[in-house]
């Protein structure tokens, strides 16, 4: 599989987890109160500010074959994350989650509470209010959050290398650029770099469009 295809697969798999979990965290950050919210607010940023190699190392300790969760996954389900594309997705998801959560928080916080209150006061349940008022009004901001998270997942290098390693199925585009350069394959490093630049520019334009709507 080409490096870009590996990257695409890793990013999409990561987003499957990042979007709902980060979206829910963002909603809680925007609307929750108290110490649990304060603690979440502080902790959610940790994967973003830690050096990626540390994130990768901690993931290895937890999810590696001898880690508490990794041993269970291996023993009970036969799932091994290290040296697998799933492991690369886990690493990408962990570093992308803070951007999704904080972006979603901003998106939900921007929704006028008065528009939700009038829905509730006229008889719509919290679930209906969320579906009819909150979610559609937060959607452009959520688009920004998803795009940022996807870009962070796409660019992920350090945690992926430390945790998932460099194998055929974990060789995402950023990893390939690095190793192609190491062995002197400049043509490959350059072509992948150009592809990543193009993808980033497209995403940045998309981001601009979403931001204008938000």
């Amino acid at each position: 599989m080409s490096a870009l295809a590996v990257s695409l697969r890793v990013v999409l798999c990561a987003l499957v987890f990042v979007v709902p979990i980060g979206g829910a965290l963002g909603l809680f950050l925007a609307r929750g109160r108290g110490t649990l919210r304060a603690a979440t607010d502080a902790l959610v940023l940790v994967p973003l500010v830690l050096p990626p190699s540390v994130v990768g190392y901690l993931l290895l300790l937890l999810l590696g074959r001898r880690g508490p969760i990794g041993a269970f996954l291996d023993g009970a389900l036969g799932v091994r994350l290290v040296f697998s594309s799933a492991g690369a997705s886990v690493a990408a998801a962990v570093v992308a989650l803070p951007l999704m959560a904080k972006g979603a928080e901003a998106a939900f916080a921007r929704v006028d509470r008065g528009l939700e209150e009038v829905a509730a006061a006229n008889g719509l349940s919290p679930r209906e209010t969320f579906r009819i008022v909150t979610l559609p009004l937060a959607l452009p901001g959520l688009g920004v959050a998803v795009t940022l998270a996807a870009l962070r997942a796409l660019g992920e290098f350090g945690a992926t290398l430390t945790f998932a390693g460099y194998t055929k199925s974990t060789a995402t585009a950023p990893l390939e650029v690095y190793f192609a350069m190491q062995i002197g394959d400049d043509a490959r490093a350059l072509s992948l770099s150009i592809a990543l630049v193009v993808a980033s520019v497209v995403a940045a334009l998309l981001l601009r469009a979403w931001s204008r709507k938000a």
């Binding site: 209150e117 009038v118 006061a121 719509l124 009819i132």
Partner: protein, 217 residues
């Protein structure tokens, strides 16, 4: 018949409200200067804000722990609080069956604007839409916060007749207005607001302090 009994205290910033009154089925007009506690009282009754102390009862039910959507209300807040992403029809479709939507729009004279978004409506049209949304589920308790301030005299009267018709059918209606003529035309009873205090009266004396309605944007 269910009465609404309000006996509630609340503080917002430097303003404190001490609202005590009973509203029977019919139109209770809430009258008084700007920033005297009328809107805050409606928010407490709607349940989108909690009183610091006291209670609000409707019929036999104490509303302390009843969430807004289970109170069976219709609420048209002062600014309309229309949903910018939904057209006129979609402001009513969550509440009533599709055939009732057009009927309601005809009642308030918006049937030709069903596909428009709030942005494309005039101030008066926005108010009529907020009013229609509050009427949609035929609530037993209607909270109307200066609902017709941007309407011309004729549609103001027409809308007023709808309010009266709901009152005759037994709804309890809290109606905020700054217009003395409208207050006297619609009101069965009055609650005068002044500096966060309330006073019940069966008729306006004519010397109550009021302020001009806010100019339309």
């Amino acid at each position: 018949m269910s009465d609404l009994v309000v006996d509630a205290r609340a503080t917002v910033g430097a303003f404190s409200l001490d609202a005590r009154f009973r509203a029977k089925p019919g139109v209770t007009v809430m009258f008084g200067p700007t920033a005297s506690g009328k809107t805050l009282t409606l928010r407490l009754v709607a349940g989108v804000m909690r009183p610091d102390s006291g209670s609000i009862r409707f019929g036999d039910v104490a509303w302390g722990d009843v969430p807004p959507h289970e109170r069976g209300l219709g609420y048209a807040p002062q600014d309309g609080a229309l949903w910018p992403h939904r057209d006129v029809r979609a402001h009513l479709s969550p509440f009533v069956a599709p055939e009732r939507v057009m009927e309601l729009l005809e009642t308030v004279g918006l049937e030709r604007h069903a596909e428009r978004r709030p942005r494309g409506l005039s101030g008066g049209e926005r108010q009529r839409l907020a009013f229609a949304r509050a009427l949609a589920r035929s609530p037993k308790l209607l909270l109307l916060d200066e609902p017709f301030s941007a309407l011309d005299d004729e549609s103001r009267r027409n809308m007023g007749e709808i309010v009266r018709a709901r009152a005759e059918r037994g709804a309890v209606i809290l109606f905020v207005t700054h217009d003395r003529e409208e207050a006297e035309r619609l009101g069965d009873a009055f609650v005068l607001f002044r500096d966060g205090k309330t006073e019940e009266t069966s008729r306006l004396r004519g010397d109550e302090t009021i302020s001009r309605p806010r100019p339309e944007e």
